[in-house]
Amino acid sequence: MNQVAIPLIVFLVETVNFIGGLGLLSHQVFRETFSGKIYWRLISEQIYQVGYRSLPLILITSGSIGMVMSLQFGLGLEKFGGKLYVPKLVAATFLREMGPMFTSLMLAARVGAGIASEIGSMVVTQQIDAIRALGTSPIKKIVIPRVIACLVVLPILATLSNIVGNFGGLIVGATELNLDPNFYYLKIMATASLEDYLSGFGKTFFFANFISLPACYFGLNVQNGAKEVGIATTKAVVVSSIMILIGDFFLSKVFWMIAKWV
């Protein structure tokens, strides 16, 4: 009994701690973003780190996913004579779901892990204490630049991912499914709507917070040396990914309701 109960209680306590801690951190970030000095140089450095350096990863994965989707849809629909619907399916799925979600998951893995381990190491080597001891705020110097960078970069990366993913689909459509590239392109343009794009684009602002805030939270809460840095890094990636995947469902529903209402 105890073997089940104790880990369950520990898990529940940790979850409540995490939710409370994340709430407090979000409140501090919000409050300090709109008061006092803004470190533009640190924000631009983080935009470079988070955005530019993630670009190859995002472009390669998006291109590959677009190609795979096109191939799978094509082979599946060919049996029913529905190959011509591949451009529409790939475009709509990419714009609404795959582009923003895969970009976010990739960023959670690359950037979330990086943020948690970097901040965790700074805690272990007392650099976060030093920031405080020198009369400055680690929220302003460390957390806010990373949160803003993710908020700026993720929508841009998701948009690029949409373009590259559809381009990957077009290449496979032309080479493997014998679809005319011009037809494929025109079909995308004719069927993909602004609503599809905005529904995916809107989610990225939430996903940016799901990546940066848990990563900063776990990094700042490292206490006992190098081993905990590794644990914090793993937790950051796992929690961010879960938040993105679960959040995606609810956000899809919300955006669908908004679209219906508008």
């Binding site: 080597t125 007392q126 650099q127 204490d129 030093a130 009369g135």
Partner: protein
């Protein structure tokens, strides 16, 4: 200048401080000694608000800092500096950038003025030529010295030293002692947490020994040196007390 009154602090079920009380007057240097794990560094960290006591008061210039929030503490941290045991230098910044950090944050100085001040301090403490070196490429002793210089860049009224000579060779120990003495001669109040008794003897005006969660003994150096059977004498000679 600094008063610690009935300071109590626990970690989990372990009560580390059971009512620590001491006072440091302006310009004085207090040596805080005691065995490992007696909570000396916790007191030091609490004096700058990095830790909060469970109860008790910490008065700096008669103002209790234990009730202050993080924003109010920023002002205290401009006049009370903390020299970390390992320097705690920002590893993504060069020595120059580390020293320029407090100046850029708290003073409206031109880049030329910042450069001038940093170069002056580096030359003053024999660290010139290391401006563009990253902390990872400095020796432990150099890191500690740069950490000390960074702590005093804002000309604080109080400096808290956390084991500044731990693990250093006699040459670097002497350099750190000289540095502390120079700051003391400028009227800076200081608290020195250390196990290094020669350094404590060289720089401290008085000593307080932390044991069993309380200040077991305190007094000025001549009093303590005369009391050969006291707790501090026993601590120094490695006897049980």
């Amino acid at each position: 200048m600094i008063e610690v009154i009935e300071f109590k602090k626990s970690f989990g079920t372990k009560q580390v401080h059971r009512g620590v009380t001491f006072e440091v007057k302006k310009g004085e240097c207090l040596g805080l000694i005691g065995g490992s794990g007696t909570g000396k560094s916790v007191i030091l960290r609490s004096l700058i608000g990095l830790e909060k006591p469970d109860s008790g008061k910490i008065l700096i210039d008669k103002v209790d800092i234990t009730k202050m929030n993080e924003r109010e503490l920023l002002e205290i941290r401009k006049k009370v500096a903390y020299a970390f045991q390992n320097g705690a230098l920002f590893d993504s910044m060069t020595v120059f950038e580390n020293l320029a950090y407090p100046l850029r944050e708290h003073f409206h100085l031109s880049e030329k003025e910042i450069k001038g001040r940093v170069h002056d301090q580096l030359a003053d403490f024999g660290l010139e030529g290391n401006e563009h070196v990253y902390p990872g490429n400095l020796s432990g002793g150099m890191q500690k010295r740069v950490g000390l210089v960074r702590a005093m860049m804002m000309s604080p009224q109080v400096i808290l030293y956390d084991e500044p000579t731990a693990g250093l060779d006699p040459f670097n120990t002497k350099k750190i002692q000289d540095l502390i003495l120079r700051l003391k001669s400028r009227g800076v109040t200081s608290i020195l947490v250390t196990h290094d008794m020669p350094t404590a003897n060289a720089v401290c005006d008085k000593m307080a020994m932390l044991s069993h969660g309380r200040i077991e003994a305190q007094g000025n150096m001549s009093e303590l040196n005369q009391d050969g059977r006291g707790a501090i004498a026993k601590f120094i000679s490695g006897e049980e007390f």
